[in-house]
């Protein structure tokens, strides 16, 4: 007797849970050859709203953890990803139609990227913080603080691209709402499963799948979102609209870069773009 297929339902990842879209919608995701791969949830503006609420409520806890602890958690994500590498290699090959060797390269790079960023968690303050010379009896110290809730429009690279935009934000203490690549959303949800099982508190990373053009404007205009990373936006007109909408509450904006080669070793820019500087004056000798 043949076994019945156990098919996976790809849902959203919001607040540590995997809900369906409140709208009840889904859309067809095809593989590289145009054949049906699976259905993905098509998130609505209300799912985006719920995701922002989840990210906001996770922010005090996550940003309040020690940098050392955040590093451990992000390293743990890399560990769990390493343990499930075969699943990710298979998903990448199905989604992108790439060779086994190429898929392994991407998974290796994604794991290494997580480890690299994890290491930065307790070092970024020393590198971008300062002891400032002042003309008075004060210690004057500038330290970086996370901006808050960051919306991310993820690039097409379903695993490495996603990891490369999310990891630098969370190691510094931000919480994020990611709109996964519209064409390749499935790996993002599987990565959500990895994050849900690796001590990352619910709500630190929230993943939406669906139409970029539908969801992104709501995130860009949302007054409780502190920054927006437009890396994966490849429609220039949409990017301008999003940037204009983001101006209302002075969000930090990162401009689109959809064609980035994610295999190249990054610099610190993705971490420092969404940091604020806090300067304290402390009296000497009192």
């Amino acid at each position: 007797m043949s076994r019945i297929d156990v098919r996976k339902t790809y849902k959203l990842y919001i607040g540590g849970q995997f809900p369906r879209s409140e709208s009840g919608r889904s859309y067809v995701v095809n593989d590289a050859k145009g054949r049906l791969l699976a259905n993905a949830a098509q998130a609505s503006r209300k799912d985006a709203r719920d995701a922002v609420v989840a990210a906001r409520s996770a922010f005090p806890g996550w940003s309040g953890k020690t940098a050392y602890n955040r590093a451990q958690v992000v390293y743990r994500v890399a560990e769990v990803l390493e343990g499930r590498r075969e699943q990710f290699e298979a998903e990448l090959r199905a989604a992108e139609g790439i060779s086994p060797a190429r898929a392994r390269t991407y998974v290796d790079a994604a794991i290494d990227r997580l480890v690299w960023y994890a290491g930065w968690a307790d070092k970024i303050t020393q590198v971008v913080g300062n002891a400032n010379p002042v003309a008075g009896p004060f210690f004057n110290l500038s330290t970086p603080e996370p901006s808050g809730v960051i919306a991310v429009i993820a690039p097409r690279g379903p695993l490495l691209g996603l990891v490369s935009v999310v990891a630098p934000l969370i190691v510094t203490g931000n919480t994020v709402v990611v709109v996964a690549s519209e064409d390749n959303p499935l790996t993002a949800i599987t990565l959500g499963e990895v994050m849900a099982t690796s001590d990352l508190p619910g709500g630190v990373v929230n993943v939406l799948t669906g139409s970029q053009a539908e969801i992104a404007p709501w995130l860009a205009s949302h007054m409780d979102v502190n920054g927006i990373d437009l890396t994966g936006v490849d429609d220039a007109a949409l990017a301008v609209d999003l940037e204009v909408a983001a101006a209302d509450n002075l969000k930090r904006v990162r401009r689109p870069a959809p064609d980035t080669d994610w295999l190249v070793q990054p610099d610190l820019d993705r971490m420092t773009r969404f940091l604020e500087t806090k300067t304290v004056w402390h009296p000497i000798g009192v």
Binding site: R56, S221, H222, M223, D224, A245, N249
Partner: protein, 322 residues
């Protein structure tokens, strides 16, 4: 809104403890499953666009903005009173709340800030929240609050007496507190009677308490103090709404309802408004007859209101913490 201290229709009922018990236990039992299903069914109604905007403004006008903490200060009460008058300083079309609800010693402070703005001051009295004090202390507590200028008194019933079946004692307490609400000029502060439904154990008891309080002359019946879980729930409020509806059918007198505690979101508030409309009709869709006891609810209402006027989601950073 002047109701006689005791409804004449029920003079015979409240003559002795046994007649009162016979009446209260003779009330039809609450169908628990039916009641919860009805409340859940009404909660699924979808209220959108202009109806939603109307409901949000109405809900803001129904809020008793509450601070009942041991750590309350005069400064906090002044800030809260200012917020009650102008919930959204950026938008002059935003209505004021119905009242601020404070402990009796803060009444004068609240009154001073509110002046003649039309926002009432409600004071919790009678050894709130437990109600465990001697009767003369409860009455003194009430008189103090009325003298300090309270427009409304929120009293707690003696749940111990109620649960052990001494209904006449509870009845007389309510009637006496109501008498203590009288002012020298002949007017009277409005009396809200808090049941603490989370401690009453059964829906039948909620129905009995509702009738008891209405017969004793309460102007409002209120679910909870907010200090006990569960606080206000939809089924409990449904039972109380049915009670005030039936009481008007019997006596012609209207009594208000105030769910308090645990109502935190606009969505919740609108569920209650739908239930009021479907159970009692739109006579009760008015701040004189329906109130929300809440503190965090107001900010969510304001955020939703801002969302509807600006078309973009708002955030808690843009409203005061209280």
């Amino acid at each position: 809104m002047s109701t006689p201290a005791t409804s004449a229709v029920y003079d015979d009922v409240v003559r002795t403890d046994s007649s009162l018990r016979r009446f209260l236990h003779g009330l039809p039992g609450v169908d628990q499953v039916g009641c919860e299903a009805r409340a859940a069914g009404l909660a699924t109604r979808s209220i959108k666009t202009t109806s939603k905007a109307w409901a949000i403004d109405l809900a803001i006008r129904m809020v008793d903005l509450t601070t009942l903490e041991g750590q309350d200060t005069h400064g906090k009460v002044r800030a809260l009173a200012s917020k009650a008058m102008r919930p959204d300083p950026a938008d002059p079309t935003c209505p004021a709340t119905a009242a601020v609800c404070v402990y009796p010693d803060m009444v004068a402070t609240a009154k001073q800030t509110l002046g003649d703005s039309g926002v009432h001051v409600a004071a919790v009295a009678t050894a709130f929240p437990s109600g465990r004090a001697a009767m003369d202390i409860k009455l003194a507590d009430t008189r103090d609050a009325v003298e300090a200028g309270a427009d409304e008194i929120d009293m707690v019933i003696d749940r111990g007496a109620f649960l052990s079946g001494r209904y006449l004692q509870v009845f007389e307490e309510i009637a006496q507190v109501r008498a203590a609400c009288a002012r020298p000029d002949g007017t009277s502060a409005h009396l809200k009677v808090i049941f603490e439904t989370g401690e009453l154990q059964t829906y039948d008891n909620v129905r009995r308490a509702s009738w008891l309080a209405m017969m004793a002359g309460g102007h409002f019946i209120k679910t909870s103090t907010g200090k006990v879980q569960p606080a206000a729930t939809l089924p409990v409020t449904l039972i109380m709404l049915e009670a005030v509806r039936d009481f008007r059918d019997q006596t012609g007198q209207m009594v208000g309802v105030k769910p308090a505690g645990g109502i935190k979101t606009t969505k919740d508030a609108i569920k209650y408004l739908v239930m009021v409309n479907e159970t009692c009709g739109d006579d009760w869709l008015d701040p004189d007859w329906f109130r929300f006891g809440a503190s965090t609810l107001l900010n969510d209402l304001l955020m939703q209101r801002t969302k509807m006027t600006t078309g973009r989601y708002s955030g808690p950073d843009y409203f005061t913490l209280d």
